[in-house]
Symmetry: C2
Subunit: 247 residues, 2 copies
């Protein structure tokens, strides 16, 4: 890989925190959202992990992901209840202290009627030392950024609003462009030609995705590249292969 | 943890393999399905990872998960195209050879019209040495089990059929029972009482999940336990706490 290409790549890992996703009770909506969002702004999502509300699991996953990718995003576990242990776990992962943050406390003080900032609610102002706050326009209790890790709420509407607050601060790579070709035949009938096209155009990523459509097997071929000219040529080659297979 | 409890616990990790999930082009439907399925049969899903179609990533994730949990399940990357590298990656993870498996080849031979079992399609019969086949009633090309790892297709209808084939072979733990209590108030107003109830009933797992409902914040409290009596008592305590908070 040339230096230019390396410079173009900005990568990310996403950590979803919560027993409720692993038990099936809550169906995750944040992975698909973040995947689309990061692709749109030119950041490659490379790995996702879902872990339970257990400190050691969170610490291990955060430390592995932050060492490996440009950015890490997390969702879940920053509310006021006993099972919200994300902030403390992130502090442990970074080896920093954690306490009620005066900036976060001020936001919550302004939000709740006098006397209603209970000890439980004040838990939401616990922020690791050295972190920046992430604005929460929906329900006020902030997220935070420490190092390359961005800690967000799990409720999708809040997580999405926090992503909008974070996005302008991120460096982004040259955007991945993509085309797709639908083929009304099973992928096994295209596999050899598509494999050859992938070899012919090494600066593209070609994916072949089987679908079922009214009980018939069809295929979608997706061509991705950061270089528009390569994308065009490879897509044309795929279209030709599909036309030949159908002929 | 007592020996009895340890024996009751059967755990699982799930590995989703595929660039298309990480780019957002395909929205995963298998995580929620497997989470529900495993919970229903008494297996605890403890971790999920989504990795790209890159051999080293797959090998690393499989080896970490299989060392850690009773069972591992994977979905994706066992089709006929160049980007389907799961079977070879699993063989590499286990340090075994991989070749066209006569049992799998016979299944595909019987499925395709004479002469149509092309080299690309025959790729789907590549199975690591020592693995058992997993039946695929939908499109024939089998999955496989090696050690504690179960390798399934990514297409949801096929993955679900494969899970039904696998389920009778799994040992399952004492089933996790659960109740929930809906509360039409923000979770911060319940947090202290719920935290105390969690302490009072250590053999339960109590989760507090904020929701937005027409712009209002509401809460669902989920109580889980393997012991019915504990579940009942803790649920009653939660109901009392909610009633008091609403009074």
């Amino acid at each position: 890989m040339s230096e230019t290409e390396a410079h173009d790549e900005v990568t990310a890992g996403f950590l979803v925190i919560g027993d409720e996703i692993l038990s099936g009770r809550t169906k995750d909506k944040n992975i698909g959202f973040l995947a689309d969002y990061l692709t749109a702004i030119g950041i490659d999502l490379r790995e996702v992990r879902i872990v339970p509300d257990i400190t050691e699991h969170i610490v291990e996953a955060v430390n592995e992901l932050r060492a490996r990718y440009t950015y890490v995003f997390t969702s879940g576990g920053i509310g006021p209840t006993h099972d919200d242990i994300t902030a403390d776990s992130i502090a442990a992962a970074f080896g920093v202290s954690i306490d009620v943050d005066p900036r976060a406390e001020a936001i919550l003080e302004a939000h709740y009627p006098p006397g209603e900032l209970t000890p439980a609610r004040l838990r939401m102002a616990r922020i690791p030392a050295g972190a920046d706050l992430i604005d929460n326009p929906v329900s006020k209790a902030p997220g935070f950024r420490i190092g390359n890790v961005h800690v967000m709420a799990g409720v999708p509407s809040i997580m999405q609003a926090m992503m909008d607050a974070i996005a302008p601060t991120l460096k982004t790579g040259r955007k991945m462009l993509s085309n797709y070709v639908d083929a009304d035949i099973p992928e096994s009938r295209l596999a050899e030609r598509i494999g050859q096209i992938q070899k012919d155009f090494p600066q593209t990523l070609i994916g072949s995705y089987p679908r079922t459509n009214d009980g018939r097997f069809t295929t979608q071929i997706v061509v991705r590249s950061r270089i528009e000219e390569e994308l065009k040529k490879a897509t044309a080659a795929v279209e030709e292969a599909v036309a030949e297979a159908l002929a």
